[in-house]
Symmetry: C2
Subunit: 136 residues, 2 copies
C-alpha cells in the first residue's frame, strides 16, 4: 500500500539565464527510478486520470500551463496545484490520481518507472477501493 | 561522423479521444536508445542550441507551441519546422544544432541517450568544423 505521505515535491535541476530556463532530469539520479516510459497529455479538453497503477511510480510535471492534481490513498486525499515547470511531484504506485482544471494549452508530462501494461492499472474508484481492502 | 541524412522524423504513439491527446514513448522501444536524461527549454526568450554533442543522440519534440531547428553536418544544412507534439525528430550525435523562432510559450522537450557531461559537447561552430576536419 502507498500513502499520500509518500508523495514528494521534487525541485527539478534548472538553469535560468538570458535565453530562458533549461530544466534537466537525469534518470535514476534526479528521480528515484530509471525512466522506462514518458508520456504527456496535450490539447486537453476534459479531466484526465481517474486511475491507479499497480506497479508504476511516476513523476508528474506541469511542463506548460497549470492544472490541479487530486490524490487518494484509500483513506486520505490531497490536492496540489501544479504550475511550475521546474517542480515535479513524485507519486508512488497504488495512489488513485485525478487531473483537472487544466489551463488553456496546458501540457502534463509524466515520467514512469515501467513500460505500459493496461492490465497493471486500476481504472475505477470502486475497483481501487476493493484492491485497497484486499491489501489491508 | 554523422550526416543530416541520418536525421529521422518519428511518429510518436498517440491516442486521440474526447479528453485530448495522450502521447506515450517507451524507452528503447519507440526510440532507438534508452532514455538516460530528459531536458526541456521553457520560458524561452532567445535562440537556443548552437552546439553539437560528441556522444549524445537525441529526440527533439515540440511539446508545446512551435519553433525552427537547423541542423548542420559539416557539409550540408537542413531546417525543420517543429510544430506537432506527436512528431519528434531523431538527431544523431555530432550534428550541429540551432533552435530559433520559438512561438510564444513554446516548450522544447529533448530525450537523450546519455547523462550530461559538458566536456562531451562542442560549443561553437568553429570548434565543430575543426572536429569534423579531424574525423575526415
Amino acid at each position: 500500500m502507498s500513502s499520500i505521505n509518500e508523495i514528494i515535491p521534487i525541485n527539478l535541476p534548472s538553469v535560468h539565464d538570458s535565453r530562458g530556463i533549461l530544466t534537466s532530469i537525469e534518470s535514476q539520479i534526479d528521480l528515484p527510478f530509471k525512466i522506462q516510459r514518458i508520456f504527456y497529455m496535450h490539447h486537453i479538453s476534459l479531466d484526465r486520470g481517474g486511475h491507479a497503477h499497480i506497479d508504476t511510480d511516476q513523476v508528474v510535471i506541469p511542463i506548460s500551463g497549470n492544472f490541479m492534481i487530486e490524490l487518494y490513498d484509500g483513506k486520505n486525499k490531497a490536492a496540489f496545484k501544479m504550475e511550475d515547470a521546474t517542480k515535479g511531484l513524485y507519486i508512488p504506485r497504488m495512489i488513485f490520481i485525478r487531473l483537472y482544471s487544466f489551463s488553456e494549452g496546458a501540457v502534463c508530462l509524466v515520467l514512469a518507472n515501467t513500460h505500459y501494461d493496461i492490465t497493471r492499472s486500476i481504472r475505477t474508484i470502486e475497483e481501487y477501493n476493493e484492491a485497497i481492502k484486499k491489501q489491508l
